[in-house]
């Protein structure tokens, strides 16, 4: 499964959005209706799924789906 697909699945699961809404350009707040607590839970979902910790400063920059994918690509993921 590609990284994009895994990220998309987590977003669908946490935010209850439709697959077609989860484009790389989609903003978590305005396009996917996630408030700040939703976004925090989402970050925790990525942390659990990919076995890493994302610190708060980095997390606040991850405002779109594409930025999350890009961020994870640059990490040395173990799974």
């Amino acid at each position: 499964m590609s990284l994009e697909t895994r990220v998309t699945e987590i977003i669908i699961d946490k935010l209850g959005v439709k697959p077609e809404q989860v484009t790389m350009e989609a903003q978590f707040d305005t396009d996917l209706g996630a408030d700040s607590i939703d976004q925090y839970e989402l970050i925790m979902g990525f942390e659990d799924a990919f076995g890493l910790r994302i610190d708060e400063d980095e997390a606040t920059k991850l405002t779109t789906v594409g930025k999350v994918v890009e961020y994870l690509k640059n990490k040395d993921l173990d799974n």
């Binding site: 946490k14 935010l15 209850g16 607590i37 925090y40 839970e41 925790m44 659990d48």
Partner: protein, 414 residues
């Protein structure tokens, strides 16, 4: 002239059914909602039976995101509130600021509390859900209902154990009489069927252990009663200023004529001797309604099926009405079919009492075979009874010594 308060809508989800009409049919026919526990592994408990909500999928009611962010107890509150709201047909007839919500719960989100506590212990607090607090706290059902129906008036939660939703209705009726709002969704909900929820009541030795016969395990006033059966669910009524209801041509189910609220100030779990606190609650409710004890035609008892409750509540009724007169008043406990829905119980029973007034039929104590010693009243054993009634009481008593009695009146125009 003092305002009068009427019930213009009702909703129930519980072990006897997932709609208010299914519940009323079940109460009248004596169809038990109790079975062997499935939500938690029953093997570990002394009491292995429960009144579970059946055929229930939260996704039939909520979208996926919302379903995951509301505890089971909040789900039940929202489902019952939606039913009462729709039943009342008030939607285009009230300003949002004039519609309130009072939803009680004895415990709150204990499912969420247990799950997140386990995560915190095993993986650390940094892995806890950020939604833990707004899922677990006892008032959040009222808050969620407010969002769900757009009710912007007074909004609060009553927490008085098994009297929680009796109090919700009593307080709501007073708020409407004071003119604070025009209508209030009032009731309660509970989802206690978890490891510590069931375990805690087992440790109190409060629950029936008649595990081999779930359907008759809740047997209020019977000589073989051995404790209550733990149940879950939600129940909500729409209470409304009578004038407001009449002006919009609402369908009126019954009138809330008064209430009585007292405390035993005696013991945290055992009732006061001869149900002294409960007797005072009934007397106050009768006075509040402006009637005499002889006007009361039916009592929906708290009737939990514990040894102490049922004898003391019977004694309390004898105190209020006199022993001889008390024996002429039909008394029943619908917990015989619902089990004990704790924070939802008072509202379920208020609804049954209102329907008994409306329909002229009294629900039975469905499982009663032989009344126990000291239980000397007419408990409407096994069969519903057709009789037109004018006034009825509904009792709710909670751990902590909380007593609340609602006095309801048949609505017959004007």
């Amino acid at each position: 002239m003092e305002k009068r308060v009427v019930i213009t809508g009702a909703g129930i989800i519980g072990p006897v059914g997932n709609t208010v009409s299914e519940n009323w049919k079940g109460a009248l026919s004596g169809r038990s909602g109790i079975r062997r526990m499935t939500i938690v592994d029953p093997e570990q408990f002394t009491s292995q039976i429960a009144g579970e909500v059946k055929d229930f999928d939260p996704l039939d009611y909520f979208d996926r995101k919302l379903a995951k962010r509301i505890d089971r107890y909040t789900q039940f509150a929202m489902i019952a509130a939606r039913e009462a709201y729709e039943d009342s047909d008030i939607v285009n007839s009230i300003e949002p600021e004039r519609l309130g919500v009072i939803i009680g719960s004895g415990i709150g989100g204990i499912t969420t509390l247990e799950r997140e506590h386990k995560i915190a212990m095993e993986r650390g607090v940094s892995r806890m859900s950020p939604f833990f607090c707004p899922m677990m706290i006892s008032n959040i059902a009222a808050g969620r209902v407010g969002i769900d129906v757009g009710a912007k008036g007074l909004n609060l939660c009553t927490v008085t154990a098994c009297a929680s939703s009796g109090h919700a209705i009593a307080i709501a009726a007073d708020m409407i009489k004071l003119g604070r709002v025009d209508a209030i969704l009032a009731g309660g909900s509970e989802a206690p069927l978890t490891l510590t929820g069931v375990g805690g009541f087992c440790q109190l030795k409060a629950l029936s252990t008649r595990n081999d016969d779930p359907k008759t395990a809740s047997r209020p006033f019977d000589q073989d009663r051995d404790g209550f059966v733990l149940s879950e669910g939600g129940a909500v009524v729409m209470l409304e200023d009578m004038e407001h209801a009449l002006n919009r041509g609402a369908n009126i189910i019954a009138e809330v004529a008064g209430s009585g609220m007292t405390c035993d100030a005696f013991h945290i779990t055992a009732p006061a001797e001869n149900g002294e606190g409960s007797a005072r609650a009934m007397k106050i409710a009768i006075d509040y309604a402006g009637i005499k004890p002889s006007d009361v035609d039916y009592i929906n008892a708290h009737g939990t099926s514990t040894v102490l409750n049922d004898i003391n509540e019977s004694k309390a009724i004898e105190t209020v009405f006199g022993k001889e007169n008390a024996m002429k008043i039909p008394v029943s406990s619908t917990k015989s079919v619902t089990g004990h829905m704790l924070g939802a119980a008072g509202a379920v029973e208020a609804i049954f009492t209102a329907f008994a007034l409306r329909d002229g039929i009294l629900p039975p104590t469905a499982t009663l075979q032989n009344p126990g010693e000291g239980c000397d009243l007419d408990y409407i054993p096994r069969e519903a009874r057709k009789v037109s009634i004018e006034y009825a009481l509904s009792n709710s008593l909670g751990f902590g010594g909380h007593n609340v009695t609602l006095a309801l009146k048949k609505y017959s125009g004007k």
